[in-house]
């Protein structure tokens, strides 16, 4: 057995150095990894060329295992060698991967592949698609016009390399402001509790402590689920929040409110919202009361049947009812089929507005009917008997007995109905989506404030402006409720 004498350290070191440079005979003198240019899933190599004659292209081959022949590796990419006078250089960052020749971005063919000039002395390319923290062996070979490897490259010495650059995940949403606001709200509530408790103690209402304890969980839940979104919405309305810079918004004062009040469709959409709400509440209470009166008649037969039928719109999920109405009202729907017409009910401004109001009236009557039925049954029957004995007409009984007794129910119900109608999103969104269009950049003919806010927020991504619209809606409802309660003395009636 022949023993091979160990190489002198200097020669061994030299050989190792040469191997690490992946020296290939022929046109390549050096292939090196540009360590400082590593990126996530990307390694950059640089190739020095001494003689590019007869070279059609350079091919980069790679494998996760050492390899000596190309059959054991995969083709990664190609760099064409050709006349570049008619090609454009593509700036850094614009192509799928960056390549340079003699320090300048390479030219690209019509497919975006890099092309270098035969005179280029040095080229470099980013090798993408590599898995981080994985060893790779990479070899660059020169190929001639016939597709053959140029001489001396049959036995390869690929260089070993890897990229350890990790993925840069975006920063998680900053929850500190949310937590601090929530904490502030909870602290304020606790302070309120303590204050009220002391007041109760002073006035000798010791048992009220228990009441506070019962109310506390609900209030805290409200603080988290309602108060915070309101506070956040108000804050957003004073910022330039937009979907293209969420989390980086800045305070802009009243600009959004000015935009809302001066927007061309503001007056129109507000007017239609008021018409929509008043029409709905009036019809809900009117028809609801009428049906409740009929259904509480003692001699009426089949009350249960009628009640069940009349409750149907309320019992069926609203979106199903609404979509069913849409199916009936559209041009090829049931309505036109029955009449044999092709009337575009939902495309004309007036008919579309009337129809969405009618559908919402239809949806809201059962709730009013049920609520008022309960209130009607609570009115003592002997009052009516006494009125009958006194010869009071039915109409006068209704005006002077029924209505005053229903006031404590009708007033909060109509207030609630107004707020619900004002913020009723589903009917309009599902039937017309605010259409038909009236003018450019304006709310549609059937848009109410709440449906238009949705468009501003989600179609245009203008969160700050949408928040300003929402704050205005909120203020309108607060103002209406305050005036309504004052005028009708609703709370007194309830108390």
């Amino acid at each position: 057995m022949t023993r091979i004498a160990p190489l002198p350290p200097v020669i061994a070191g030299l050989l190792f150095f040469l191997l690490s440079l992946s020296v290939n005979a022929g046109t390549l003198t050096e292939v090196r990894v540009v360590s400082e240019a590593q990126k996530y899933r990307t390694i950059q190599i640089e190739v020095s060329v001494t003689d590019a004659r007869d070279v059609d292209r350079y091919e980069v081959w790679f494998s996760e295992q050492p390899f000596r022949t190309l059959t054991d590796a995969l083709l990664h990419s190609q760099v064409q060698v050709a006349d570049t006078s008619r090609l454009e250089r593509v700036p850094e960052g614009a192509a799928y991967e960056d390549c340079w020749e003699d320090g300048l971005p390479t030219h690209r063919d019509p497919f975006g592949s890099p092309v270098i000039s035969p005179a280029a002395k040095r080229w470099s390319c980013q090798l993408t698609g590599l898995i981080p923290n994985t060893d790779y062996w990479i070899a660059v070979v020169a190929v001639d016009y016939s597709g053959q490897l140029l001489s001396g490259q049959d036995s390869l010495s690929p260089i070993k390399t890897r990229t350890d650059i990790p993925d840069q995940l975006p920063a998680p949403p900053d929850t500190r402001p949310v937590l601090s606001i929530l904490t502030s709200i909870v602290i304020c509530l606790l302070a309120l509790f303590i204050y009220l408790r002391r007041q109760d103690m002073r006035s000798g209402k010791a048992s009220a402590n228990v009441a506070h304890a019962y109310v506390a969980p609900a209030l805290i839940a409200l603080a988290v689920l309602s108060f915070y979104p309101i506070v956040y919405g108000i804050w957003l309305s004073f910022t330039d929040a937009h979907q293209s810079r969420l989390g980086q918004e800045s305070f802009i004062g009243l600009t959004n409110f000015v935009e809302v009040f001066t927007s061309p469709g503001f007056g129109r959409v507000t007017l239609f919202t008021i018409i929509w709400s008043v029409a709905n509440v009036t019809a809900h209470v009117g028809f609801g009361l009428m049906l409740a009166l009929v259904l509480t008649k003692a001699h009426l037969k089949g009350k249960l049947f009628y009640r069940t039928i009349l409750l149907m719109p309320w019992a069926i999920p609203a979106y199903i009812s609404i979509l069913a109405w849409k199916g009936i009202l559209q041009t090829d729907g049931l309505f036109n089929n029955i009449l044999g017409t092709e009337i575009e009910l939902l495309s004309q401004v007036t008919s579309a507005q009337v129809l969405v109001i009618l559908v919402n009236i239809w949806l809201g009557i059962p709730f009013m009917m049920m609520s008022l039925s309960g209130a009607l049954m609570a009115i003592p029957g002997d009052m009516y008997e006494a009125a009958d004995l006194d010869g009071v007409s039915k109409w006068d009984q209704f005006i002077h007995l029924t209505l005053p007794n229903l006031k404590s129910t009708i007033t909060p119900l109509s207030l609630l109905g107004f707020i619900w109608s004002f913020n009723m999103f589903t009917v309009i969104y599902l039937i017309t989506r605010g259409n038909p269009s009236v003018d450019f950049g304006q709310p549609g003919a059937t848009d109410i404030l709440i449906t238009y806010v949705y468009d501003v927020a989600f179609d245009y991504g203008r969160y700050g402006v949408a928040a300003a619209w929402s704050v205005i809606i909120f203020l309108m409802l607060v103002a209406f409720s305050w005036v309504y309660v004052k005028k009708t003395k609703a709370t007194e009636a309830v108390a």
Binding site: K39, Y40, R41, T42, L74, L75, H76, S77, Q78, G93, A94, A95, Y96, E97, F111, G112, S113, L127, T128, G129, L130, I131, P132, D167, L169, P170, A171, P172, P173, D174, Q243, S244, R245, L246, G247, Q248, Q330, T331, D332, N336, E342, I343, E344, S347, N435, P436, S437, D439, F440, G441, F458, D459, Y460, G461, R462
Partner: protein, 413 residues
């Protein structure tokens, strides 16, 4: 004694069972195939095959309605709850591309995830259509555009020859007039929806934007196209009144055999054949006024990786599998989805299918939807303009000019 065994067993299952799953990399995928559809079944089979070959990855597919996908993904990303992989349309990239959360985009730039060789397996036009600015935001797996689809039985009943690829719009109109009788209309086209109008607009020599991306909705060709397309209903009566804004109504009309021709995409082909229709397909016609062929918007469907995904390597592996020749071929042959794979262009099974190859030919003359913010903002003013012209409140030139101004001012905001 027995009482102690049960909680112990449950605890063991929880601890060891949990560990067994913990070794796998979870990948949540949001897809938009219709429930129980053939597409969904094929998708599930593709996922199953992937998991078998990648035992270290656990895929969790979640169905999201197609029309809600964009907004749901944006909202989830804003809350830091985005899925790893999501199925998106190239038309959505213009909107999603501009969204930022704390300065970061919502989608991962896929350029570092693909080798040039992997990239070259996909049609270069499809890849370019998935770029927003320079980033590659989606790996395209299918493409589709509008095409002319006709009911052979209605043509046969009238003894008329089927539509041909060399048809002009005048030929189409003439035949549509001949076939409009009683309940049956010659054409079923949502003429008041911008997406359909754009196909005519390109035929008349118009386009949405100039080379610098500025809106050009107000060109002469655009106005001519708008008048021509609305006249299909208003003047010629070959399109049923009132159906022009309702895509579903148009689909139902054709499905019920109440229209001889429709302009629709391959995505509805199966629902038509399932309804028992004997169908044919032809290229959208040419426009004699300009000498150009109608070129509908070409939309690509692709798989995008969320920027927030902590498992991008595994997710990219899944995306590449879903874009592979194997999966694309299966989808193409079974669901008439034109593929984006370069090698499948010459696949005999695909080229041998007359209708599928017809849809592929149509995509070749279609125009990729620009992935710009301007494109995402163009829909609203376009629909308003069409509506105002349809209702007679404005003429096409004035309406499109106003739409152009509105789009330009929206872009400045």
């Amino acid at each position: 004694m027995i009482k102690w065994h049960i909680p112990l067993l449950v605890a063991c299952l929880f601890v060891f069972g949990g560990n067994a799953f913990a070794d796998k990399t979870p990948v949540e995928v949001w897809y938009t195939y219709i429930a129980d559809s053939e597409e969904e079944q094929l998708f599930f089979r593709a996922i199953e095959a992937f998991e078998q070959n990648n035992q270290d990855i656990d895929v969790n597919p979640v169905r999201v309605p197609y029309l809600q996908m964009l907004q749901q993904f944006i909202t989830a990303s804003q809350g830091g709850e985005a899925p790893d992989l999501v199925r998106l349309n190239s038309r959505d990239l213009g909107k999603i591309g501009q969204v930022r959360v704390n300065g970061a985009p919502l989608l991962e730039d896929l350029r570092p995830h693909l080798t040039p060789m992997e990239r070259s397996r996909i049609d270069v036009r499809a890849m370019n259509a998935m770029r927003y600015n320079h980033a590659l935001y989606s790996l395209p797996v299918s493409q589709a555009s509008l095409s002319l689809i006709y009911n052979k039985d209605i043509f046969d009943a009238h003894g008329l020859p089927y539509p041909q690829d060399d048809w002009s719009i005048d030929d189409m109109l003439k035949v549509a007039q001949l076939l409009t009788k009683g309940e049956v209309r010659g054409l079923a086209v949502p003429i008041r929806v911008y997406y359909w109008w754009i196909a005519f607009q390109t035929g008349f020599g118009g386009w949405l934007f100039d080379g610098d991306g500025n809106p050009t909705l107000n060109s002469v060709g655009s106005a001519e196209a708008l008048q021509w397309v609305l006249d299909l209903e208003l003047k010629h009566g070959v399109v049923a009144p009132g159906t022009g804004f309702d895509v579903e109504a148009v689909k139902t009309q054709f499905q019920q055999g109440k229209a001889a021709m429709t302009i629709d995409g391959p995505w509805n082909w199966k629902s038509y054949t399932d309804a028992g229709l004997n169908l044919g397909q032809a290229l959208l016609p040419t426009v004699p006024q300009s000498g150009k062929r109608m070129s509908p918007l070409l939309a690509y469907i692709g798989w995008s990786i969320s920027k927030q995904s902590p498992n991008k390597v595994a997710t990219a592996r899944l995306a590449k599998w879903l874009a592979s020749d194997t999966v694309q071929r299966t989808f193409a042959l079974q669901t008439y989805t034109p593929p984006t794979s370069v090698s499948l262009k010459d696949d005999p099974a695909i080229t041998g299918d007359l209708n599928l190859s017809g849809f592929i030919r149509q995509t070749e003359v279609a125009t990729p939807a620009p992935t710009t913010q301007a494109m995402s903002l163009a829909y609203e003013p376009l629909n308003t303009a069409i509506e105002l012209v349809y209702t007679g409140k404005m003429n096409p030139a004035a309406a499109l000019s106003a739409a152009n101004d509105n789009l330009a001012s929206n872009l400045e905001r």
